[in-house]
């Protein structure tokens, strides 16, 4: 609740034990799968900032950005299916704690939107799932 505690999407994924891609400086850059691919579960995010819906709230424009989070690399057995659905449930439940997104000012709200069921990919033999977060941010106010 307010304060200085902040949480980005990448931090939330890291806290759930997912491996993220990192750039040369070691900073998480999760818009691509980590290379080489780890044995543990990993996450890839995709920010959809092309679609913007504007509404006026007290002089500031509220815009929305969608973040698609895909979690991969769960084993093809029952344990992988269950741990994938558990991580998905944690992401859904903790989505509202997110209040920062790299490059965006003033995240006011983060809601979990649609999600896929846990699916199994036959080619790479793993379980995977996706969830979409919708982040509202203010634009047009001085920080």
């Amino acid at each position: 609740m307010g304060g200085v505690q902040t949480l980005t999407v990448d931090q939330l994924l890291f806290q759930l034990g997912l491996v993220l891609n990192k750039d040369a400086a070691g900073i998480p850059l999760s818009n691509a799968p980590p290379s080489p691919l780890p044995k543990q579960p990993y996450a890839v995010t995709q920010v959809m900032n092309g679609s913007r819906e504007t509404s006026l709230h007290g002089g500031a424009h509220t815009r929305r950005v969608q973040v698609l989070i895909s979690i991969y690399g769960f084993t093809p057995d029952v344990a992988g299916l269950q741990s994938c659905s558990i991580v998905l449930a944690h992401l859904r439940a903790r989505a509202r704690e997110v209040d920062r997104l790299l490059g965006y000012p003033r995240i006011t709200e983060c809601q979990a939107a649609d999600e896929s069921p846990v699916m199994r990919d036959a080619a790479t033999n793993q379980h995977y799932a996706s969830i979409r977060l919708v982040l509202s941010f203010l634009q047009g106010v001085t920080p």
């Binding site: 959809m48 092309g50 969608q66 698609l68 690399g73 939107a113 699916m119 996706s130």
Partner: protein, 129 residues
């Protein structure tokens, strides 16, 4: 002297609302058909007929299966639009398989201000006449 409700008013409004809902759903389906019927501005892969979409765009038309499945139909007491009897790529574009990048087409359309504008206009045209 008492006020009595016009018995014709409620059915008239409900009929008009149903017409507006149908017009909005059909306009949304037309919007999706228009967006999914064009080539993208990304890579040109061998074996695919059209240029693929770049990240952030609507998916480009390749086989046309997703395009053919876009429709607006009455579903119960509501009108629904989207992909009916959806091909697997409709799902795979929304939720990417390992090694793939998503091209969200339905969630992108739902947040698209152009779609909202066009649906509002179509419904307003029904109410205006």
């Amino acid at each position: 002297m008492t006020w009595t409700e016009n018995p014709q008013l409620r059915p008239m409004l409900l009929a008009l609302a149903a017409l507006a809902e149908q017009a909005g759903a059909q306009e949304a389906a037309a919007f999706l058909r228009e967006k999914l019927n064009q080539p993208g501005s990304g890579n040109k892969w061998p074996g695919l007929p059209n240029t693929s979409s770049a990240p952030g765009e609507y998916p480009a038309k390749q086989s046309g299966k997703l395009l053919d499945s876009i429709d607006a139909q009455p579903l119960g007491q509501f009108w629904a639009f989207g992909s009916f009897n959806a091909p697997p790529e409709a799902w795979g574009l929304e939720y990417p398989a390992p090694g793939h990048v998503a091209r969200p087409w339905l969630s992108k359309a739902l947040a698209d201000p152009e779609l909202r504008e066009r649906v509002f206009h179509a419904m307003w045209e029904v109410f205006r006449h």
